[in-house]
Symmetry: C2
Amino acid sequence: MAMMACFDPGDEILIPEPFYANYNGFAAMGGVVLRPFTTLIEENFALPAVEDLAGAVGPRTRAIMICNPNNPTGTLYTRQELAGLAALAKAHDLFLIADEVYREFVYDGLEHDSILSLEGMEDHAVVVESTSKMYSACGARIGALITRNRELMGTVLKYAQARLSPPTLDQAGALSALLHTGRDYFDGVRSEYVARRNTMVQALNALPGVQCPLPGGAFYAVARLPIDDSDAFCQWMLEHHRHEGATVMMAPATGFYATPGLGKQEVRLAYVLDQESLVRAMDCLATGLEAYNARG
Amino acid sequence: MAMMACFDPGDEILIPEPFYANYNGFAAMGGVVLRPFTTLIEENFALPAVEDLAGAVGPRTRAIMICNPNNPTGTLYTRQELAGLAALAKAHDLFLIADEVYREFVYDGLEHDSILSLEGMEDHAVVVESTSKMYSACGARIGALITRNRELMGTVLKYAQARLSPPTLDQAGALSALLHTGRDYFDGVRSEYVARRNTMVQALNALPGVQCPLPGGAFYAVARLPIDDSDAFCQWMLEHHRHEGATVMMAPATGFYATPGLGKQEVRLAYVLDQESLVRAMDCLATGLEAYNARG
């Protein structure tokens, strides 16, 4: 609905890549063009300086879009980075759309800053929220679009009315989750995910030729592997590699980059398994990398 | 998804009016233009002869779309009418899209003919189906798009994958409804709706100046009333008229016509109440019409 309501066909969105691949589909539905600017694994996928980003604003640019914490990189943006985007949005009258579905998943004592907390952004800030991510309720199709821009909300409401209602039973489930989970629920979730993240990222960086920055949020990490082609490697792992009777399914990072050719040495890993399984998975990946690179 | 997958922006759909108003929203999302051809209450909203319809096919026409049985009119199309549309679709290489969500709601011993049963329509026929209508489960967001056209289904699948999944809990509810309701369930539903329909339509036609054809299906009827402006009348009923402490909410037919000015004397009524309530509603409408037309 954000893609439909904020834009006319042909309008453009500036977005850091790698980005969640499904944005492509929703942009296509609205006839909107995603203009990527590349963030680098060597910089933990931090945003570029605002001065550099300003040059990317073109005549059809209507928005900047981020996912914070980020899918696929797990990067948590700093308040300074967000303030820079806000300044750019105000200077060029752009929407700043933030997918904040992982906002409770932030670690190491860091705080998540919602773009809704940025000053003077009442007409610019659009937040997207999801029950399924917040409560590990895959398939719950309950979400929210949040903005203080009344004109935009009026337009979004037309799309919502065409849809008639969100699913009834999932609404009941979401309500129950909201009513019966307090802060302590997320404290428990966070400590578990920190342990998983540390286990996985430490194991990754211990492998020869592997580089994985420590993500500040979400439950994803992007790792650079000593491989030639992440699509081929991920497929090969599924089809040909078994370690203790199991393999590891990863997402090739190529699908998260809009610029052709990028991501060929990177994969996205989701640390959504218990620690013991993650340890086994890293052993499996280690043997997989050896075997893959030793092929004839 | 049908509106997105079958068309490019600017493509046109021929559609009998009055039609379900929400099609407008979905067409707008896809940049598709709905080209209405008018059906008449005097003819129980029957489709025009194929020869007359052929003249409406233009260079951007890509589909014919119907709702059968119809919302808002309750009209059940005959096999002959459907065969005519199929011939037209084949002759001009058009999709024939049928919203068949009310297919179990057909009365008087008539049979519902799905466009999927028409010969030679494998590449043209697209059916839309809904659990919420079938099982009176308002808010269940579980539906289906059905076609034998593999290329189209491949495109639809991309939209489905962007959506990731239908809602989990509603899927469980829909599965239960499918597993635990046999033909006898719909027999019971049909006999109840026939009784409601007869009660309402007989009462309507007994009112001075009111005309309401007997609908063959769904649970709607469009009635012509002795009024000047259906929007004003429906609003007046809600704001100013009470009979035994209650009023009747109807949908002005103007919203179901794309041609400006049509439907000003018509309203859509849904016979989704028990018969006793319908009798009271018709008494309320009778007194409402008198009072409305007696205003100063």
